[in-house]
Structure formats: C-alpha cells, structure tokens
C-alpha cells in the first residue's frame, strides 16, 4: 500500500517538475544579428513559435521517447552530450560518497563510543566548521598547498601531458592522482551531517534496553555497537547516501570548474554561459529525476528490509 502511494507521488512529481525550467522563455539575444527569415526558421525548428502550453506538450512527448531535443549551441542531441560526460561525473560522485562514508562512519562511531567526551566534541565542532567552508575556497587552498607548494599532486585536469606514453597500471594511477583533490573537495562538507547521523543512530539503538542487556551479558562496547547499532543503522545510512548524491551534483558543478574536469557539471556551466536552454533543461530534469529515483529506491529498500514499514 505504501509502495503504491510512493509510485503515485513520484508520478505526480515528475509531471510537475518539468514546468519550472520551461517557465523560462528562451532568450534570443544572439539571434538578433541574423536576418528575420532565418530567425523565423530557427524559431520554427525549436518550436519557439508555438504557445507555451503547446511547447511544453511537444517537449514532454519528446521526453517520453527519451529525446531531450538538440543543443542550441552545436545542434547535437542533448542526450548524447550528457551521456558522453555522465560517466566521469558519476565516478567522481561515487568515489566522493565512498570517501565520505569511509571517514564519517568511523568518526561517528568513535564519537558514539564515548558520548560527551573531548573527542566527541572535537569531532562535532571540527566537522561543523568544515560544513561552512565554501567548496571553491577549499579547492583553491588544496591546489595551492598540494599542487603548487608541495608539488605532490597535479593542479587540475584529468590526465598528465604525457599520459599517452604511460604503460600498464600507470594510466589508471595517473587518473586516480588527478581525482584525489576533487574527490576530497566534494566529500568534506557532508562529514558533519553524516557523522552526526551515525552517532545519533548508534546511540539510539545501542544505548537502549537491548544494548544495556548486551553489556550486562559481558559484551564489549564495540561489540554492542556493532551488533545492536550497525545492523539497525545500516539501512538509514543507505537512505541518507541516496539523499546526499543530488547535493553532490550541485557541488560537482563547482569542483569540475576548479579542476577543469570535463564532466556534466562543466557542461552545465558552459550551457549557462551560452544560454543553451535545451541542455540546461535536460540536465536540471535529469538531476531532479535522479533525486526522485534515489528517494524511491531508498523507500523500496526500507520496505524490503524492514517489515514494520511494509505494514504501516
């Protein structure tokens, strides 16, 4: 029953969502210089001469065929432009998410072991400060420190100049080196949120009666946290990861610009400069749809793993 409601909700939302990017009538400043005739033809080609509801309908029927239209800039299909860059951004985001969980879960766990201790307060304060650090500032400082001053890591880009001559494992290693700083930039701001969440969930589950009983049976604190905390915290954590991914997409717009990475975020910024409305619309829709899919998946996983949710 919950499932049915969720799918219905998502259906309504997807119908609502495309209205927003479309609400903005495309600018045709750049078209002012070319002739009246050519302008009319161009308008007809992109259906800009139709009334707005009709435009919307046309766009939506195309969307059902998975066709997002053609770019204003180079007339290539938007889906193709996105598809060739999506892999890179997904890799970036997925590794950032992995790093985030890898750091935040131990942080939260350590804090939960001794709530109120100096370490607990230090972790909470430190991650809280990190949360307010703007991404592009962190990116710049990391570049200055590790690329310029220390020279340990490459400044920007994806590949070294001589990457064609690298053999065997050196190629992927080169790529990985280039991705270290961007991945750090994308993951640090979520630390506060996730580690606090881990701490709260662990405490809630392991500090309850079942946890006290387990301690009384002689289990160590770590074992109690593991057996009674993590098993119950795992699922909400996955849900949280689903929610975090979209906010990372926003961050990757900036990170890809700083580090000159040709991903989807970079495509979006370029499209914004070129007023390339089909690309902007396509990417905005995609990010919204990805969020919805994440929420839906999280709900489904919840229902599958937790019988209490299914019954409700």
């Amino acid at each position: 029953m919950t499932l049915l409601l969720v799918t219905l909700l998502v259906f309504c939302l997807i119908h609502l969502a495309p209205g927003e990017p479309l609400g903005a009538e495309p600018e045709d400043e750049g078209l002012l210089r070319i002739g009246e005739q050519a302008r009319a033809e161009l308008r007809a080609q992109y259906h800009l001469d139709e009334p707005l509801p009709k435009q919307y309908l046309l766009w939506f029927t195309d969307l059902l065929h998975l066709d997002l239209g053609r770019s204003f800039h180079d007339r290539r299909p938007v889906t193709q432009k996105i598809a060739e860059r999506l892999g890179l951004t997904l890799t970036l985001n997925a590794s950032s998410l992995a790093l985030l969980l890898l750091v935040a879960v131990p942080l939260g766990t350590l804090a939960a072991l001794n709530p109120g201790s100096a370490w607990d307060r230090f972790a909470a304060g430190g991650t809280y400060l990190l949360y307010a650090v703007p991404v592009f500032w962190a990116g710049l400082l990391l570049q200055i420190l590790f690329a310029v001053r220390l020279g340990w890591l490459p400044l920007a880009g994806l590949r070294s100049h001589d990457h064609e001559f690298l053999r065997g494992l050196a190629g992927p290693a080169d790529l990985a080196l280039h991705l270290i700083l961007p991945v750090i930039c994308l993951s640090y701001s979520g630390l506060a949120y996730v580690s606090r969440f881990v701490r709260a969930t662990l405490l809630e589950n392991a500090a309850g009666d079942s946890g006290r009983a387990a301690r009384a049976r002689g289990l160590s604190r770590l074992a109690v946290l593991y057996r009674h905390g993590f098993r119950q915290a795992g699922l909400p954590l996955l849900t949280l990861a689903g929610f975090l991914l979209p906010s990372m997409v926003g961050g990757s717009v900036i990170v890809e610009t700083i580090f000159a990475i040709p991903g989807v975020g970079r495509l979006f910024v370029d499209a914004a400069f070129q007023r390339d409305v089909p690309v902007l619309m396509g990417l905005t829709l995609l990010s919204g749809a990805a969020t919805l899919a994440g929420i839906l998946l999280a709900d489904l996983a919840y229902a599958a793993a937790d019988p209490r949710v299914r019954r409700a």
Binding site: A17, E20, F136, L141, F273, G288
Partner: protein
C-alpha cells in the same frame, strides 16, 4: 530564573556584527577598491597593504571590505524574498489544509528535488528578458529567494497546522475575527519563531551561493568587488599569490559560519527540549 543564551548565538552575532560593521564602514575606512597601482602588483601582506595587492595593484583589504557589502546585500535581500514567498504559501497550506495544502506541499517537494545551484544557474541563464535588465544584486537576490523559500514555508505550515486547533484561534473566531485576521494577527506572531531560524540559515546559504555564482562568472559582474569574484581572480595566481586565495575565502567562511551559528543558537533558544538536554 534567567536562562543563559546559547554560546553559539553569541559567536554568530559577534561574527555577523563584525561583518556588518565592515560592510557599512567600507567607503570611509578603506581606500578606493578600484584604484590601480601597477607599481605595486601582487605584493604580499604588509603595513601599507594589510592583505596584499592583486594582479593590478589593487588593495585587497579594500576590495574585501567592499565585497562584504555585496555579500550582505544579497544575503539579506534574498532571505527577505524567500520569506515573502514562503510565508504566505506556508500559511495558506497550514491554515486552509485540503487541496491548498496538497498543492503547496507537492510544489515544495518538487522544488527540493533539484540541486539548488543547478536551479539558480538555469534561472539566471535562461530567465525572461525583463529579468536580465535588472541590477546584478537584485537579480541574484530574487533568484536565490525564489529557489530558497521552501524551508520557511515548510516550518510555517507545520506551525499553522499545530496552532490552527488551539483555543486561541477558537476565541478569536468567537469574537468575530475573519480568517485572514486570525491567520495574520493571531497565529502568525506565534508561528514566526521557527521561521526565524530558517531565515538565519537562508542568509548564510545565500551568501555562499552568491559567492559560488560570482566565482563561476555568472554572478555580480566585475569591476564590482565580490568575494566570489576575488577568489576567481585568485585562481589565475595560484602559483604566485596565496594571500589572494586565503583572505576572501576566510571572510566568506566566517560570514557563513556566523549565520549558521545564529541559526543554531536560535534553534537551541527556541526549543526547550534541546536547551535542557545540554550538560
């Protein structure tokens, strides 16, 4: 018994007060931020130029102080716009319920699905023509307000739902007050407190977002000095001048932190459960 104010509130007010003081005083205390001095290019911090100079010999301290004006204006204006949109919608949804509630709630959920930065960039790039004729600060504040009203509406809706059934409303209705009067004069003042918290966070988020936009080159355009713009300039000099990157970012960090601390402090202050739970 007097309650102690949360320390985060003090720190936040201190930071933001400092920022406001700098922003207000900037034209009088700082030198002209646009004055070029090509003999004094890329100087590291010194007595004459506290925070060094940039690639055109402009004084960083002056540019930073003037950048504070832009950040603050955008932050406060956009929070105002967000409240202007969010309050009526949230009140309507909470007070009327039914289809109004359903409609507003769906719109909120749909808006929250998009990463804010993408939505803002798309609106700035593809906004209607009358829109691009406005001044940069106003334009950005409007867009940020338009994409940031959801938390205010959500909280106000929840408060209205709670207060709608209170005896206070029943009494007001009984003495003949209309729905609008009840909503505005009786419920709104009681429901405003949690919304204040969201407003504080909204100011911080807007300051960060404006800097991001200016950094990308789609925000307030040069030669106006903005923190984001200063950081974008610093990118060109990463191998030569660390001070160009350090100070604007530090200012931005402290401003955002100040807003967040105020929000956090207000929340602690308004939520009795949390304050008593503190050791």
């Amino acid at each position: 018994m007097r309650e102690r104010l949360p320390s985060s509130l003090w720190w936040g007010v201190l930071l933001l007060g400092l920022l406001i003081a700098v922003a207000v005083a900037a034209p009088w205390v700082a030198v002209d931020p646009a004055r070029l001095d090509l003999d004094r290019v890329l100087l590291s911090p010194s007595i004459e130029n506290w925070l060094g100079t940039d690639a055109l010999g402009r004084d960083m301290a002056a540019r930073l102080a003037h950048g504070a004006r832009v950040s603050l204006a955008v932050g406060l204006l956009s929070a105002g716009v967000a409240l202007l949109i969010g309050l009526p919608l949230g009140a309507l949804a909470g007070y009327r319920g039914g289809w109004a509630d359903a409609a507003v709630s769906r719109v909120i959920e749909a808006m929250l699905c998009f990463p804010a930065l993408l939505l803002v960039l798309a609106l700035l790039a593809a906004g209607p023509r009358w829109f691009s004729g406005m001044s940069d600060v106003l334009r950005i504040a409007l867009v940020l307000g338009f994409t940031g009203w959801m938390p205010a509406a959500r909280y106000l809706r929840a408060e209205f739902l709670k207060l709608k059934r209170s005896e206070m409303v029943l009494a007001a209705r009984a003495v003949g007050a209309g729905h609008l009067r009840v909503a505005v004069r009786h419920i709104l003042p009681c429901a405003l407190a949690p919304v204040l918290v969201t407003a504080a966070f909204a100011v911080g988020a807007a300051i960060a977002m404006e800097a991001a936009l200016s950094f990308l080159g789609l925000g307030v355009r040069p030669p106006v000095a903005t923190w984001g713009g200063l950081l974008a300039d610093a990118r060109e000099q990463v191998d030569r001048a660390w001070w160009l990157a350090l100070f604007p970012g530090l200012a931005l960090f402290l401003a955002v932190l100040g807003c967040n601390l105020i929000g956090e402090g207000l929340r602690d202050l308004l939520d009795p459960r949390r304050t008593t739970a503190r050791p």
